[in-house]
């Protein structure tokens, strides 16, 4: 470890993390004032309640009898972290939650600045622009509220940069956290495996016969998800309880994505708004990969995560905060004036999202 490099990363990353957090706090207070007097405004809505229920009391063995909703439909990574922080600090869960995502976003910023070259960023200024665009985007609302998105994004970044830098213990550790946080996390080891097979295509079988640390690292990553499935078996006798709960209670399942997309485009503004960001992201990821602004594995993974979600149901905005941060690597490639214009536009969009989040509009679920 070179303290100088890390110190610089902490300085630059910390500046962006604190600055964007202050701006988000300002947006929140402003929106709360704009909405008052009115119903109580809280950042903890919808899935946040499920994470809190797991952090407080663990997993339920019985669903809500009226709705059949159950917290079995949520992965344990984020609520386990909430519970751990609450226990270590002695803070109430609400306060621990307010602490967790800012710290995770700080870690994200520091890692991104420290390993900016691995992300294809030429300078600290480019890294700052990337982070500003990512953390000020409207969908970074979900990185701020007590959702699992920020932990997921940090785990992706950590897994990727450690993998590329051949810090295999780190890659395995981040990978385990990733697959324990969201089901789609398991796609990253698969994408990295595909990359390894391509890279070593002339000697991949030989690599399997005499594996090096990379094979072991990839094999370790899914253990987070596997441990959760074993736990579900011990708890309710069903290792697939997560999938059954998601399917029964939230109507999730694999469907024809083309049909879903086409139907959504004809189903009114809310449905269009649910799927159009995916089309924009697809184009952006393809362009970014082509311009060598977005590393190939990250581009593929960033596309697969929302694509998998869109193959299930069209509704859902948090999917655009899940793993899509590589898209913002394109921003530093823009002319400087345009890059700042984009960042400003994204920040205005974030204020709009915060305002409507506090108004509890269902199209932000």
């Amino acid at each position: 470890m070179r303290p100088g490099v890390w110190g610089k990363a902490l300085g630059t990353g910390g500046l962006v993390a604190i600055g964007t957090l202050l701006l988000f706090t300002f947006f929140t207070v402003w929106a709360q004032q704009a909405l008052s007097p009115g119903p109580e405004t809280s950042l903890c809505l919808w899935d946040c309640d499920w994470y809190f229920s797991i952090a407080r009391g663990g997993y339920q063995t019985a669903p809500d009898p009226a709705t059949l909703f159950t917290n079995l439909g949520f992965f344990p990574g984020f609520p386990a972290l909430l519970a751990l922080v609450a226990r270590l600090t002695g803070l109430p869960l609400n306060d621990a939650a307010a602490l967790v995502n800012p710290v995770l976003s700080l870690a994200f910023c520091v890692l991104a600045v420290r390993y900016r070259a691995t992300l294809g960023l030429a300078s600290g200024a480019e890294a700052m622009l990337f982070l500003l665009a990512f953390l000020l985007s409207p969908w970074s609302l979900y990185n701020r509220v007590p959702y699992s998105e920020m932990l997921f994004n940090l785990a992706i970044l950590g897994t990727f940069v450690c993998w590329k830098e051949r810090r295999l213990v780190g890659a395995a550790a981040f990978g385990i956290v990733l697959t324990a946080t969201r089901v789609s996390g398991v796609l990253l080891p698969l994408v990295l495996l595909a990359g390894l097979i391509y890279e070593e295509r002339s000697r991949f079988l030989a690599l399997l016969v005499e594996p090096d640390g990379r094979v072991r690292t990839l094999a370790l990553m899914p253990l987070g998800m596997m441990a959760f499935l074993v736990y579900l078996y011990v708890l309710v006798g069903d290792p697939l309880a997560y999938f059954h709960a998601q399917s029964l209670s939230w109507n999730q399942g694999l469907r024809n994505p083309v049909r879903l997309f086409a139907d959504a485009l004809q189903s009114g503004p809310v449905a269009v708004y649910d799927v159009v960001p995916f089309a924009v992201a697809t184009i952006g990821l393809a362009v970014g990969w082509r311009l060598r602004r977005i590393p190939g594995e990250l581009a593929v993974f960033a596309w697969l995560v929302p694509a998998l979600s869109l193959s299930s149901v069209p509704e859902g905005q948090p999917r655009y905060a899940l793993g899509l941060f590589p898209l913002y690597l394109l921003v530093p490639a823009l002319p400087k004036w345009l890059a700042w214009l984009v960042v400003t536009g994204l920040a205005i969009g974030q204020f709009v999202f915060v305002y409507f989040w506090l108004k509890r509009v269902p199209w932000l679920v």
Binding site: A62, P63, D64, P65, A66, T67, L68, L208, V209, E210, P211, V215, R216, A219, M226, L229, V230, Y233, V236, G237, D238, P239, L240, A241, H244, A245, L248, N251, R255, L260, D263, A264, Q266, S267, G268, V270, A271, D274, V313, P314, E315
Partner: protein, 192 residues
């Protein structure tokens, strides 16, 4: 064979073994299996049984043990069928002779211009086929039963919808939940 080769074989064994475990491991309770896996029971009511006192109204607004396969959870607007086939099961606590009446408030989820037909069958015998025009508003039905229903024997009432759809498929919303029949309430009343 080197230790490193054995390591690869070990990982393969772990993942194959885990896949088999996930596919065959089963220590579920009967209620869990019925609700979450087989979906033959719509509501999580651990101590409920299917005994039905004739004349009692089965509400679509609250959880009830009589709803079997093919239902969404109860809601303020009644209970929607999940897909095109929705089943109620009950065991009358007293004999219901032929000529008893199946009374219900039924509607259907319809796309803007698509009519649908709701079929009602009791123990495999179709007793009515009702056309519903958009918007599929709920209406009262009163159907005499051509058969008797002995006390204690399982009665299966199957409601079928010829054109289940979702707001998404019908192009007026983002909700992809496929809905068929809508039941507000149902009862089987002995003849007067």
């Amino acid at each position: 064979m080197s230790w490193r080769t054995l390591e690869t074989l070990g990982w393969l064994a772990l993942y194959l073994g885990f896949a088999v475990f996930v596919l065959i491991a089963d220590a579920m309770t009967p209620l869990y299996r019925a609700v979450f896996v087989e979906r033959t029971t719509a509501d999580w009511l651990p101590d409920a049984d299917l005994t039905y006192v004739p004349g009692t109204t089965i509400s679509g607004v609250v959880p009830s043990p009589y709803f079997g396969a093919g239902w969404w959870p109860a809601g303020a607007e009644g209970r929607w069928g999940r897909g095109g086939r929705s089943v109620l099961r009950l065991r009358p606590s007293a004999d219901l002779p032929a000529g008893s009446h199946l009374r219900a408030q039924l509607g259907a989820f319809l796309a803007a211009s698509s009519p649908a037909t709701i079929g009602i069958a009791v123990n495999g015998t179709t007793i009515a086929t009702l056309p519903f025009e958009p918007p599929g508003r709920a209406r009262a039905i009163d159907l005499p039963l051509p058969m008797s229903l002995p006390a204690g024997e399982l009665v299966e009432i199957v409601l079928t919808d010829s054109a289940p759809s979702s707001p998404l498929a019908a192009h007026f919303g983002a909700d992809s939940a496929v809905r068929g029949v809508r039941l507000l309430e149902l009862s089987i009343d002995p003849p007067p």
